[in-house]
Structure formats: C-alpha cells, structure tokens
C-alpha cells in the first residue's frame, strides 16, 4: 500500500515539476528572447533544470505554439533563439490564475493546522 501511495506522489511531483518548468521557461523568455545556455542559467536560479530536461520542454512549448524560434549569428556560429508568443503569454496568465486558487486552498489548510 505504501509503495502505491509513494509512487502516486512521485508521479504527481514529476508532472507538477514538468508543468512548473514549462512556465518558468516561458517566463524567462517573456521579457526578451533567449537561447539554450542562458535559459538554463536563468531558470536554475529558481528551480533545478538540466540540459536534457530543457530540450523536450522547448520542443513541447514550440509544438503548443507557446514559443517561436529564430537563428542569429554569434561568434561565427549559429545560435537558436526562443521567443514567446501570445499563446505563451496566455499560458502564463492561466498558470497565475490556477495558482491563485491553489494559494487559497493552501491558506485554508494552514489556517486549520494552527487551530489544532
């Protein structure tokens, strides 16, 4: 029984983290277009992310039209830049809304505990 519960919690965390990372990446490129190495650096300040994790996230966001790409020359090589789209900005707004509700629930739970 413990193992099943443990796995469910782990899987939730993985899904949760994936969702969080996607939003973090969108947030980072919402201010200005960025490139792989820089995105990893900026997101890492808030949540653990690796090169191998970032690539599928960028792929998914592009497929969902949340970001667009262009290439620019840098130091004699081609660098790929990722920039946010309107759909991407919408997704960030959605996330903020969802988590406002979540925060309400959290506040409620915390309130209950302090009464015990």
């Amino acid at each position: 029984m413990y193992n099943i519960v443990h796995k469910v919690v782990l899987n939730m965390d993985v899904q949760l983290k994936k969702g969080l990372l996607e939003i973090c990446v969108l947030k980072v490129i919402s201010t200005e277009p960025s490139y792989g190495y820089k995105i990893i650096g900026d997101v890492s300040k808030y949540v653990e992310i690796s090169e191998s994790t970032l690539y599928p996230i960028l792929k998914r966001l592009e497929q969902a039209s949340c970001l667009a790409t262009f290439t620019q020359e840098y130091n004699g090589r081609l660098r790929k830049y990722y920039q946010i789209t309107d759909t991407g900005r919408e997704r960030i707004s959605l996330f903020k809304e969802e988590w406002k509700k979540l925060k309400k629930i959290y506040d409620f739970i915390v309130q209950e505990d302090s009464l015990c």
Binding site: Y35, G36, S50, E51, S52, Y55, K80
Partner: protein
C-alpha cells in the same frame, strides 16, 4: 567522453528520428557545448553533466512518439565489410574446428568403450580360467593353481579396465555438456546485446 564522441553517439542513437528532428537535437547540444566551453567549463565535465545518454535519448525519442527503443550497439562498417569478405575462410575455419571437436569426442568415447570391452574380456577370461582350473588341478595341481592365480589376475585387470573405461566415458560426457552450455551462453549473450 569527449564532445565529438558524445555527438557521434547521440547521432547514432537518434537515427530513428526524421533527419530534420535529429539535426535540431544535435544543434541544440552542439550549441550548449560551445557556450559552456566559452564559459570556461571543462569538456569532460560538460559531457558528464549531460547525464546518461540512454535516458537522454529516450526522452527525446519519446517527445517524437518513439517509445520502443532498441539501442543496438553500432557495428563499425569496416568490421561488416571484413566479415563479408572473410566469410568463406571463416566458414572453412568453423567447419574445421567443429570437425576436430567432433573427432575428439568420438575418439574419447571410442577409448572409453575399448577399455570397457577389454575389461569385459578380462572378466570372461577370469571366469573361464577359474572354472577350468578345477579340472586342471585334478590332473596337474601346480598348473591348476597357477591358473587360479591367472584367473584372479584377470579379474583384477578386468576391474581396472572397467573402472578406467567408466571414468574416461564420464570425463568425455562432462566435456560434451560443458561445451554445449558454453555455446548456449554465447548465443544468449549475443541476443542480449540487442536489448
């Protein structure tokens, strides 16, 4: 692992992807490697920082809806050419070795069988000489008793040869079982390489 090795391995493992998709993934990592090197990071550390290649490529392939991956170990083209060119000789060698092994086995069993046959012969001699020695004793005690002795010697020799034959037979049999087990292992291992 060095960057070139990594990129080559990655390219091979992503061969299931459409060329465009594969190139995108490869450029992504090339770019990262260049940026990190520029930032003073160590090449080996960069590559090891990327983590397990299998997991890495599994994730990329999964994003492209490729979930059943068999990561075969790539065989160098030169080796394949060598095998094709050399196949007649290789075949001849295999046949020769197999024949030798078979001949050894047959010889081994033949020796074992011969020993058993000799042992049996001595037993028969022993029995016959024993029986007829009684008749001899009546006529010529000296030779009669000598024959009894001969019969016992034959008995002893018969037992020795029989035991020797059995041991040799057993040894050859164990040899056969050992060889077949090893061959089974080799084929099982060869199959596992492709999992």
């Amino acid at each position: 692992m060095l960057a070139n090795e990594f990129m080559q391995e990655l390219s091979v493992r992503l061969s299931a992807l459409a060329p465009q998709e594969r190139d995108k993934a490869l450029s992504y990592y090339e770019e990262l490697i260049s940026d990190k090197l520029e930032n003073g990071e160590d090449e080996e550390e960069i590559i090891s920082g990327f983590g397990n290649l299998y997991e890495l490529t599994k994730a990329i392939l999964a994003e492209n809806n490729i979930t059943n991956i068999s990561q075969k170990k790539s065989i160098h083209p030169a080796i394949i050419i060598g095998l094709i060119i050399g196949s007649p000789i290789i075949f001849a060698v295999i046949v020769t070795v197999a024949s030798l092994v078979f001949a050894l086995l047959v010889t081994g069993f033949a020796i074992a069988f011969s020993f058993l046959a000799i042992g049996l012969s001595f037993f028969i001699i022993s029995v016959l000489t024993f029986i007829f020695s009684f008749a001899l004793i009546i006529n010529n005690p000296m030779i009669g008793f000598l024959q009894i002795g001969v019969s016992f010697v034959s008995l002893g020799l018969g037992i020795l040869f029989a035991i020797a034959g059995m041991y040799i037979g057993k040894a050859v049999w164990i040899g056969v079982k050992f060889m077949t087990n090893k061959m089974k292992q080799q084929f099982a291992k060869g199959g596992n390489q492709y999992e």
